[in-house]
């Protein structure tokens, strides 16, 4: 419970537990260069070509990185011409299912100068980006960016790819190993606590679940014989930021400290780069409201300011039209401008961790560190995490969180302007609605393009590459990434590859049969 004010008695007074910026335990973050944080926005809409234009437009507005999300079919690892996909192609992200799509998406994007973050099924994103770089004459070793690895929670949190946990985990481990070797500057393991928490998890749940997944993946990489210092510097975390701003800043500071201790003391990392985690943030879509959408611009600006003061490495603002759609052009521009104004005009980036030493913030940081650590230990004491995933343990947490959030809003415990306070009738709430509520159609032309292209492919290498996927899937010791890269290179689609991954596990290729059986 928050008190009216805080005093020196609320903090330990031991500065070594906090440390300088750039020093263990990295409470205050890494030492940041003069370039500040990576300003980027979530993008992707329609066909790869249309999304490419969107990326170019964002970069032209001054974005320093790009983050690409797939449409519902792409996030489900299904091809756009699958019957279940047609109504959803391109409406909530970019449609990607083949090597050519990655080439078109990234055409002319200076991948050697900007960072490319994937909010996409990671193994395919890494393979696709690798091939796109190679085919456009760029050494994949220069690629920077990140790929979200969601083996534990994706099935329960909106991004099901209809693959069993074992295969999801292998895809994570194999794509990290592939990336460490081929794309050593790339963060192949982005732990995304945004998407798991934006259904209403609290801060302690968000970060404990995120750190649990990091720990599980790290243990499995160590079990494969990889030294911790070979992969730990390539781990990053993408966190959420809601409206309780001091709590969100404290969360980031607590997470840095937990991460540093975990890496050094539990996993035995000795390279300081392994101790300091890279944290980026995506501001919360759940905090934005369909009522009075312009208010969301204010919310995004305040969250972004807080995150700039928290010293994050990368920042994405959920745009004002987020309750309705993927970002419109003007919303993208406003979000980038918000970041630019904070960076260029407010001077908050001039001093690292400017809020450090606040009795309130330090007390909150200590408190969250304790609670998150306790939650991690409690869960790990329950037994094997893979079993917990499959038993629905985490799913119950997600369900309860949304229910708790709804009740809190209904009962006014969570105050939201325009929703349970200062509500205005719809006729007085028209500002920016035209942009926010604008809709566009699924990209039927792209579906036709994919259909026509399918028949033009050279069959023999394609079929051979898909056999390679089935064989690798069936062999639990086999690497999955090389066969996936080879199959994409032979013009296999992501839907075909995942179908073969399922077949290798004795499951039907079509996920809807699989889904029906699994339920």
């Amino acid at each position: 419970m928050t008190r009216p004010f805080y005093t020196p008695a609320d903090v330990s007074g031991d500065y070594s537990a906090i440390g300088d910026p750039g020093s263990y335990p990295f409470t205050r973050g890494r030492l940041r260069g003069s370039s500040g944080w990576i300003q980027r926005e979530l993008s992707g809409e329609g066909s790869p070509r249309r999304s490419n234009e969107q990326l170019r437009s964002l970069l032209a507005h001054g974005a320093l990185g790009v983050d690409v999300i797939g449409d519902n079919p792409t996030m489900s690892a299904l091809d756009p011409d699958h019957p279940m996909c047609v109504p959803a192609v391109g409406t909530t992200g970019v449609s990607l299912c083949r090597k050519q799509d990655f080439l078109e998406l990234l055409d002319g994007i200076p991948l050697d100068r900007i960072t490319l973050s994937h909010s996409l099924p990671p193994a395919f994103a890494i393979a696709g980006q690798y091939l796109a770089a190679r085919d456009s004459g760029l050494d994949p070793a220069v690629l920077r960016g990140s790929a979200i690895q969601p083996p534990m929670y994706s099935q329960d949190c909106s991004y099901s790819t209809f693959l069993p946990f074992g295969i999801r985990m292998r895809l994570t481990l194999d794509s990290i190993v592939f990336s460490l070797r081929e794309m050593p500057r790339f963060h192949a393991f982005l732990e995304d606590t945004y998407y798991i928490s934006d259904g209403g998890l609290n801060i302690v749940e968000e970060m404990s679940l995120g750190l649990l997944e990091i720990r599980e993946v790290c243990r499995r990489l160590l079990a494969r014989g990889l030294p911790v210092d070979s992969f730990a510097p390539r781990i990053a975390i993408l966190v959420n930021c809601r409206m309780d701003l001091f709590a969100e800043i404290a969360k980031i500071r607590a997470t840095r400290r937990l991460y540093a201790r975990m890496m050094r003391e539990e996993f035995g990392a000795t390279d300081p780069r392994s101790w300091s985690v890279n944290i980026a943030v995506h501001t919360s879509g759940l905090t934005l409201t369909a009522a009075q959408p312009a208010n969301n611009i204010v919310r995004g600006a305040m969250q972004a300011l807080a995150m700039a003061m928290a010293g994050v490495q990368g920042l994405e603002i959920s745009t004002f039209d987020e309750p309705f759609r993927t970002p419109s052009d003007i919303a993208h521009q406003l979000a980038i401008r918000t970041q630019q104004i904070i960076e260029a005009e407010t001077n908050v980036g001039a001093v690292q961790d400017p809020l450090g030493g606040s009795w309130y913030l330090e007390s909150l940081t200590d408190e969250l560190e304790g609670k998150i650590g306790d939650a991690i230990r409690r869960t790990e004491n329950l037994g094997d995490l893979g079993a917990l995933v499959e038993n629905g343990y985490f799913r119950n947490i997600f369900t309860a969180a949304m229910d708790r959030h709804s009740s809190a809003v209904q009962q006014g415990e969570l105050r939201i302007v325009g929703v349970n306070e200062h509500v205005v009738p719809l006729e007085d709430d028209q500002f920016l609605r035209d942009v926010a509520e604008e809709r566009f159609r699924p990209d039927l032309d792209h579906i036709e393009r994919i259909r026509a292209w399918r028949t033009e492919r050279a069959q023999r290498p394609l079929l051979a590459s898909l056999d390679g996927i089935r064989a690798a899937s069936a062999d639990s010791d086999a690497d999955l990434l090389r066969p996936i890269v080879a199959a994409l290179d032979a013009d296999a689609t992501i839907g075909e590859i995942t179908g073969c991954l399922r077949e290798g596990q004795g499951l039907p290729a079509d996920p809807f049969n699989f889904a029906a059986v699994a339920r």
Partner: protein
Amino acid sequence: MSTGTVPPAGPADGRPGRVVIGTLGLDQHEVGAMAISQLLVRHGYEVIYLGRFNTPERLAAVAAQEDADIVGVSVHSWEFTAYADELLGRCRELGVGLIFGGSVLTETDRADLLARGADAVFGPYASEEGMLREIGSTVDRVRGGAVSASRRTGDPAAPPSLAGRVVIVTGAARGLGRAYALELSRQGAAVIASDVDETALKDAVADMPGSAHPVACDVTAADAPRLLLDAALRRYGQVHGLVSNAGVLRSGPILRLDDDDLRLLLDVHVTAAFRLLRVTGGYWRAEAKAGRTVDAAAVLTTSAAGLYGFRAEAAYSAAKAAVAMLTVVAADELTRYGVTVNAIAPAARTGMTEWLGGAPGGPEVDPWAAEHVAPVVAWLLGGAAREITGRVIEAGGGQISVPAAWQPGTPHSLPLLMSPAQAQTLLPQVLSEAGPPRGLLKPEHPQHPAS
């Protein structure tokens, strides 16, 4: 909701309400479905939770199997627009209630889904109390048999309904177009009403009882068809019908009608209709190729002028004749994609028929009122006319008929390199065997009651 007030959770008969809950298609955001399920369970409902990846077929099948009262769909993606009509149809067939809820549902969606027949629609942060009240009363209605098949087949007493169909009507601000749009709306169709006169259009739309959306545009603009289709898809997610009705009259004998009037007549009547067919037909073809059942109908507008000719209306008559033939050829081309194309040759008292004089009274007593043609157009757009295509129907003034089309005459042999003398012998013979000519044209409509 305070803890003291327990809303009327259960149905009146005391048995717990049974609700099937899930999302549609690839809409993976499941948290809303989870939250509403928890709420319902807390209030004594039995929830059959289907989670994600449902089709209308699956939701309805489970509702039937589980003897559910309501299908509840949680919506976090625009995909729902592609499935809503089918799901509504299936729920109506079963006599089961259908409720949509979700954060992306706008007030517009709410109005549209309700107009199409949904029992309730909940937007972002809808009040729990309100949701429980509406869900409870839906269960009561379902158990009282009020939510039953309005489109059940084989029941001739049930009026043909256009519920769930989305129709574009051009020239909808006044006259016949306005009457068509009103009738379509009355029969349950969602209408994209278009006209060049924005003010009159808004008035017309305000009168429509169902869901209607005005799109002011000039049908002769090259991008107008696209604009209309996009508006329909953005608004309703799909399109099932087109009524190409916009028209204009420029009278004058050939020797006096100038190029501007000629061009206008051809643009409005022929080019605009052609382009509308090309754009909507392209959309329907894409739907068909995407594996979805297309059940679409286009109604073009010809005229007695185009079929028989009006005196001193050469350009107008030629344009309307072109529409009649466009109907026949378009029907031939589009039938393979599930599209019917027919034409109406209306006769009615409108702004274009001042010669008919003022109305003697309301449509109840005036056989020339546009309202009498509208049910014919509505029928052509409905399920009962799926087999009807390539036809022209003349209606109005108390009569309806199917005019006879051009027919090949009795063939005679045409000599090779016929000489002028041979021609002089042959042609009078051929013409006389063909029967008498059509005769002199009458000025405008031949059966004008007031003349």
